[in-house]
Amino acid sequence: MTTETDNEHPCLPGGLIALDQWSTPDVSVHKTLRAGLKDILEQLRSGLTPESEAFESLDDLPSLSANKLKRYAPEPDASALASAILEQLEALRQQGAHNREVSFVVAPPFSGVSDALLTLPVRIIEPPANLSMTEPDADRWWDEQLGDDDWVVPELANFWLRHRSGLNLLKSFFARVALDSTGRGIVACSSWCWQFWVRYWPEIHVNPLTPAPLDSGRLTGWLDFLARGGNGRSLTARMTNDGLYVLPPKADDSKEKYSCFAQDLANAARGNRGVAHAIWQRALRAQPEQDAEQGEGEASAGNTAECWVVPFDQLSLPGVPQGSGQQAGLVLHAILLHSQLTIESLERATGIANRELKLLLSRFLRADLIVQDEKTQAYRPTPLGYPAVRKYLQARGFPVDGF
């Protein structure tokens, strides 16, 4: 269903695709087995090192300065991504591949789609303060929100609560979308929220789209695009252990030897751009012979900047505290289902007492698995902790997203 080439949309490599076309980046049997064994060993070892869950780097090379990090691996431009999404939707409409009034973009956490939609110059529909509405109240609320003008819902996961009285708002919304009686809008929906609702209402047919997964090729292209940052200065990134290249992307006539870091990164992130970007930022190092702040001038002078990349096995990503019992899984799952939750909402969604929740949340905060939003006081997952959380939940039978 993709319409554009990767080069035409460097901030949305692979474009938007149908949900059933999404697949994890290819990974060898050897690496799958190694990862499986590593998981089992980590679970077995958990009792021995209960507090070593937070991110740590196992090398002693100097990290990049904040300035250099901002230049070499800057945050993606949300407005550029929004434009790319709009262009893709328009192209799909012209092809006849997408003809719904409401466009659904289902994406895993940290995909950047929600932030991108917030930059669009259209009416943004924010969730109501009270999510526990009766059916008539929910209908009335949507009547007020959905008009003839264009609108966006930046994150549908914020419009419900996994509680018997917290479903009506989305029930009413999906019923309207099915009838195409909502005007023209774009909805971003977390893959976790989508996974719940597609099971709850298998009849939902809204033809959702999703950003294509980043395999190693797309990932290096995207990281290179970010590093260039519009000024055309490329970044050369090489491995600290063997000097093999990671960036710039391999050209057809290139004679340099390339590392498999990009492939490892794409696999570890399961093609998720936000997770890959967060790990990439942690993997970058200053040149071994310079410290973090030295060489700023030299780097800016040339047309090519250079930095180093730590091997994947020297990056210890955050892990879920294993001895937390089943309550830990319930809390993490609830946070992912709703993208973010305050402690009061968590209490309602999980049924866990406030005091116990505080203990669990403080443990997750220390382990870098979640962060608390200062403004809303809501807890949300971190991109570095997300792979471990997903794996943890999947191993314990929780329903996980398809991404």
């Binding site: 089992i40 077995l44 996994r162 018997r164 089943q326 314990r396 039978g397």
Partner: protein, 266 residues
Amino acid sequence: MEELGLKDALSTISSGAIIEAVAVVVLASLLIMAIQKLVPMLARKLSGKPRLYLLASVPLFRLVIIVLTIVMVVPILVEPSFENMLAIFGALALALGFAFKDYANSLIAGIVTLYEMPYRPGDWIEINGQYGEVRAIGTRAAEIVTLDDTVIVIPHGLLWNNLLANGNDGTDNLMCVAELYLEPNHDVARMRELFRDVIYTCPLTKTYQPVVVAVLGTDMGMKYRLKAYPLTPGDQTRFIAELTARAGEVCAAEEVKMISRPLLWQ
């Protein structure tokens, strides 16, 4: 016994051979004990399929060790000629047939259990009215732990002529049913919808497995059965309790009364 040639076969056994054979048997027993202790300990630290596979491997390990021990011990004690083997196994068959009939029955059923796998460690089974999780499968009997934490030893021989119900059959998917009776003359469709919401919003529900709300008109009222899968089989008691409590809240909010048998008899 003499007709079988057992005397001749055993006459060559020396005291050194006996000590060697005993040492092998003791070593094998220690190895089996270590496996039976360590593997479940490791399995408890894991979750999902690795846990089930590891638990299921214990009886297989034991069988392999027993077979290997027999293969090693017999040549130590007697010369492995055709006549000697016939004598030993013939005598063994006689002894088992007469003296340890039931024991042999269970031993053979135990071997069949390992091959057919009607239950594995980690399975939730019901046999002869006893329901629980298979904790260990021994050579002669299996141990199950009931929901009330009582250990029940079930001889494998019971397999031959008893019905066995296996709730999860080697997987971690175990359907649970919460039952409740409601007073008739209410909006059944609405209650079914609300109970469905109850199941989906229960944090212990595996939402990717089927969810069913069945209803039946009985002489005791409208019988609702809320069927769903908990995250892990071990959650079943808590899961059913959660579903029942949440369904009770719905009934109270909808002003539909729940009924129970004692009330009916009044």
